[in-house]
């Protein structure tokens, strides 16, 4: 098969061009295979860009003469071509792609052709060329110079191509050619003439061309001249530019010099300005008005206007002395002198001020003392508002003093405290005394009012004695109550309400005075760092005092307090309600800032307060243990009002509250003791025991006192303790009592306790309530059953015996055969209870119940109802027992059910 054929059939359809082909056979040759002709073709694919070179292995197809592409490689993938040997002639060669393929060409020439063709192609189209080894040098040298090689290769290619390919004229060429030929009619017929014509035309064109070239010479010259001109002009401009440049450089130098000078001037100006400012500042700071000096030297410290002046002066002085001056300036003589002057002024003024205030304090302490008696009649603490008002105008001066002269400030506070301490001690003492007096006088007047002798206690006892005389029956239930517990008589109630109001008055007065004083001290002695002032006053002070005392760590305390107070603030206002306290609510904001300093100051001012209050409380407690309940409630309320301030007062009240709580506990203990010691008269029926009554009264009163108090929990505890004891003691009394059956005592008293506890509706006492109810029910039953044995005693015993027999296993029908329970015996027993007898017994029973129960508890109907019920049940039971144990004997009781009911009705009618 020829190369042409192969190209046509195999490669042209894919736009490929066959370059070289050699017949080859695969190595090692497989002999047993039918030898088929096999070709290696090198093919150029021009369609793909960049141009690719393929190597095809083409084999003759199984059927027919056609060839088939068996394998294809890209030349690019060829890593190495091994010619086996450069010297020895061999037709074998290896192609190393991914794999190595061994081939044998049909002849040496063909192998060399193939190799050189690959060599050329790879040099032309590949950047990374395959390695050619074991190949004779001459094959590769052929194309040493890549350039010529390219041309050569190309020409070789082209030649080889032209020789074998027909290339058609393009469409345009064809059209041009046709046009040309049609213009010349003879063209076809006479080629010679046509050629001639063409050459003629060509020569004409040539001539014209030369002509025009020559004609343009002038113009070229012209152009050249113009160009020369242009160059000259340009040179001139360049010269000028250079001149300008030089000039500019000159100017630049000058400008630089000027700039340096300018900078220098500015620096100097600023320095001057600064110096001036600094000086002005210094003068402003240290300038001290003459009138201020005058005020400080001998300003009037008694009149408000003078004080204001002095205050301003002092503040100015303070700000001058503490002006922010650069340390280096401090060393200048002027400043030093001025500072010295200030210091002198300050010392002088502080001396003057301390002296003045010292006198003022002492004077005021004494003066108030004289007017003290005026308050004695009314239960009121003396007002200190006027002193406070008088002193408070010095507050700013005090602040100044504190900041400038700490020692005299402390001395001054000491003087104030010692003076006022005396005053307050006296006042508190007198106040407490008058409060005590008030209690006694009320008691006395009330006592008189009641219409007996002067001593109230005596009055009470005599009245009750007379009353006892008047009351015939009451004597029958005499009981001994040795304790001093007493509830709710007219006198007592009145006295207690008086006590309550006196107590409230005492506490709120103390609270008022203490808080007023605390407020004052706080303001006057500036005990707190007010770095985050609340109101305008404080802000002013803050400005005046500048940095204030930031080092003493109060600020932290204050912040903590404030957050605390924010939550508490609302509670206070809402809780206090009353006028006095409400006005204070605004003050309290500041009051939160109490710290140890204030507290210790207050403690020094009121050294006796706690003791006096304690004495008062003890005194009251001694008068009446019941008061401890009032005290507990009132005190705890006041403690709550004050506790948030963490103040001296809060602490004092807190301590007292603890004592009051102890008093209350003691009161409860005494009450319990008295319950334990209660003796009940043996002669009369028991009825409701005195301590049960007492508990009811106590509960009513206590509920009144403790209503709404947060101390109710204490009361609850007391309740359950007392109730326990009462339950215990009811049982003791029931055991001891000779006249009244135990069950009656228990039944009546527990019924009453149940009722009392139901009224209280206290969840803490729910279990006790249930217990009371249960005991009441139990004893009601026990009493009924015990008593009911009586009316039909023999019958009862007989049937009990019968029942016992049956229970031990005797058949019911056979009981009658036992001697003791024969029909005979039964008849005998029954005979003893004719209807009349039964009725008499029932009437007797009814009377007995009436006699044993007290009317007060009103349980007669309940008990009697129960009795009737049980009696009927018994009757029915006997009846049934007889039917079971003595069948066919026709024995019945001598009274019918109808009789029984009639008896009941008759008894009812008898009342």
């Amino acid at each position: 098969m020829s190369k042409q054929q192969l190209q046509q059939t195999l490669f042209l359809p894919n736009d490929e061009r066959l370059i070289t082909m050699i017949p080859v056979s695969k190595m090692p040759r497989k002999t047993n295979l039918k030898k088929r002709s096999s070709l290696l073709c090198v093919v150029l694919n021009t369609v793909e860009i960049p141009v690719k070179v393929y190597i095809y292995h083409v084999k003759k197809s199984d059927r027919g003469d056609g060839f088939k592409k068996k394998m294809a490689w890209l030349l690019r993938d060829l890593r190495m071509l091994d010619g086996r040997s450069a010297d020895k002639d061999t037709s074998e060669f290896d192609l190393h792609f991914e794999k190595t393929y061994k081939w044998s060409a049909s002849s040496l020439e063909e192998k060399e052709t193939f190799i050189s063709s690959l060599w050329r192609l790879s040099h032309r189209f590949l950047i990374q060329k395959p390695e050619f080894v074991n190949i004779p040098q001459r094959l590769l040298e052929e194309i040493k110079d890549p350039h010529s090689l390219g041309e050569k290769a190309k020409s070789v290619d082209d030649i080889s191509m032209e020789g074998e390919d027909y290339q058609a004229l393009s469409g345009k060429e064809e059209a041009d050619l046709e046009l040309l030929m049609s213009e010349c009619q003879v063209a076809i017929s006479n080629a010679e003439a046509f050629t001639e014509q063409l050459s003629k035309q060509l020569s004409v064109l040539d001539g014209a061309n030369i002509h025009s070239i020559m004609g343009s010479e002038d113009q070229v010259l012209n152009l050249m001249r113009l160009l020369d001109d242009g160059i000259r002009e340009a040179e001139m401009i360049e010269d000028k530019l250079d001149t300008y440049d030089k000039m500019l450089a000159n100017v630049k130098e000058q400008m630089e010099v000027m700039r340096d000078k300018d900078t220098l001037m500015t620096v100097r100006n600023t320095n001057h300005q600064r110096l001036l400012d600094e000086l002005q500042n210094l003068v402003d700071h240290l300038d001290f008005d003459l009138k201020y000096t005058q005020a400080l030297m001998d300003g009037d410290l008694t009149s408000p206007a003078g004080i204001v002046e002095c205050t301003q002066a002092a503040q100015a002085l303070h700000s001058c002395m503490n002006a922010q001056i650069h340390p280096s300036l401090q060393r200048t003589r002027a400043v030093e002198e001025q500072q010295k002057h200030f210091k002198k002024l300050a010392i002088h003024f502080s001396k003057r001020l301390s002296h003045h205030l010292n006198n003022l304090f002492i004077h005021q302490g004494n003066e108030i003392g004289e007017t003290l008696s005026r308050y004695a009649g009314d239960l009121k603490m003396p007002q200190h508002n006027s002193i406070h008002k008088e002193l408070v105008i010095y507050a700013d001066l005090m602040l100044w003093l504190k900041n400038t002269d700490e020692t005299s400030f402390h001395k001054l506070s000491a003087v104030y405290m010692s003076n006022l301490c005396k005053l307050y001690t006296r006042e508190v003492m007198e106040f407490m005394e008058s409060a005590k007096q008030k209690l006694v006088t009320t008691k006395e007047t009330k006592g008189k009012h009641h219409g007996a002798s002067t001593l109230s206690r005596l009055t009470g006892s005599t009245t009750s004695l007379t009353k006892i005389d008047h009351r015939g029956r009451s004597g029958s239930i005499q009981s001994v109550d040795s304790s001093s517990i007493k509830y709710g008589s007219d006198l007592d109630i009145a006295m207690r309400s008086v006590f309550d109001s006196v107590l409230e008055k005492v506490l709120s007065e103390l609270e008022r005075v203490c808080i007023a004083e605390q407020d004052f001290c706080f303001k006057f002695f500036h005990l707190i760092d007010k770095s985050s002032g609340v109101d305008d006053d404080q802000k002013k002070e803050k400005e005046a005092s500048g940095e204030a005392a930031s080092g003493d760590g109060d600020a932290d305390v204050w912040v903590a307090k404030q957050t605390y107070s924010a939550s508490e603030g609302q509670y206070i206002t809402e809780n206090l309600g009353e006028g006095l306290m409400q006005t204070r609510a605004t003050v309290t904001l500041e009051m939160r800032q109490i710290n140890d300093q204030v507290r210790s100051m207050m403690a020094e001012l009121f050294p006796q307060l706690e003791q006096e209050l304690d004495q008062f409380l003890t005194h009251a407690d001694r008068q009446d243990g019941m008061y401890s309940m009032y005290m507990l409630v009132r005190m705890s309320q006041h403690v709550i009002n004050n506790q948030d301030m963490g103040s001296f007062l809060g602490k004092t009240f807190g301590n007292c509250l603890i004592k009051v709580k102890r008093n209350f506990d003691r009161y409860v203990d005494v009450m319990m003791q008295s319950v334990r010691e209660t003796k009940v008269s043996k002669k009369n029926r028991c009825g409701i025991i005195s301590f049960v009554h007492n508990f009811e009264e106590f509960a009513n009163l206590a509920e009144n006192i403790f209503r709404g108090s947060d101390r109710h929990a204490d009361l609850d505890k007391a309740y359950s303790k007392v109730v326990r004891i009462i339950f215990e003691q009811i049982m003791r009394v029931a055991q001891e009592h000779q006249k009244t059956p135990k069950e009656v005592v228990l039944m009546e008293n527990f019924h009453r306790m149940y009722s009392v506890l139901s009224h209280l509706k206290n969840p803490c006492l729910e279990n006790d309530r249930k217990e009371a109810k249960q005991r009441y029910t139990e004893n009601l039953k026990a009493y009924t059953v015990n008593l009911l044995g009586r009316p039909l005693e023999k019958l009862h015993t007989f049937f009990e015996g019968v029942e016992a027999r049956v229970a031990t296993g005797v058949k019911p029908e056979e009981v009658g055969f036992q001697l003791a329970y024969s029909k005979q015996e039964l008849r005998k027993v029954i005979k003893e209870y004719p209807g009349k007898e039964v009725k008499k017994n029932l009437e007797h029973l009814n009377k007995k119940v009436e006699k044993q129960l007290c009317e007060e508890e009103n349980l007669i109907q309940v008990v009697w109802h129960e009795m009737q019920d049980v009696f009927i049940q018994q009757y029915k039971y006997y009846d049934e027992l007889m039917r079971r144990c003595y069948p066919d004997s026709n024995i019945t009781l001598e009274f019918t059910m109808q009789n029984v009911l009639q008896f009941f009705s008759d008894i009812a009618q008898a009342h």
């Binding site: 009470g460 006892s461 009981s479 007493k486 006198l491 109802h865």
Partner: protein
Amino acid sequence: MSSSTPSCFLLNTAMSKAKTQQPAVIHKVIMVGSGGVGKSALTLQFMYDEFVEDYEPTKADSYRKKVVLDGEEVQIDILDTAGQEDYAAIRDNYFRSGEGFLCVFSIKEQESFQATQDFREQILRVKNDENIPFLLVGNMVDLAEQRQVSVDEATKRAQEWKVSYVETSAKTRANVDKVFYDLMREIRSRKMEASRQNNGKQKKKKDSRKKKCVIL
């Protein structure tokens, strides 16, 4: 009755409360009616302001409370009785002790309404008094949707008896105070009337009482 309490305080030093503690006037009220109509519920609501949902049949129980009746402090004794009883005669005794009666039925139970007739008759027989203070009470008015006894029906009967008819709810406390206070007022006016009459013929009455005792 009022005399027993103060004696317990005999030896207390400042005791003088006697009269104020124990009101002289006691009104005895009896609750009657069939079982489960709410006699105890009414009583407990009046006494302790509480309503007990659980039903537990009463046998008999006595309650006492101090109240202010038209400005006067009085004591009310309430005898709460059993509704379920096999023998009516058992009731005679406490009917006898009562000064006024609250005859309760349930408006959602016709039977309980019918039973009031028997109670009324027994009370009149035992007390032997046509004008005994008496109130017909229709309870459970909070359950009006289950009503079986109409207002007209009950009012008619009350008119026949010449007593008032009041509807109550022990659960909602509707009219609870009213029935007790109305009854106490009736009792009070009856007592005043009686004392006026008694002024003249006190002796006679004593005699008649004694005679009865002899018979028994």
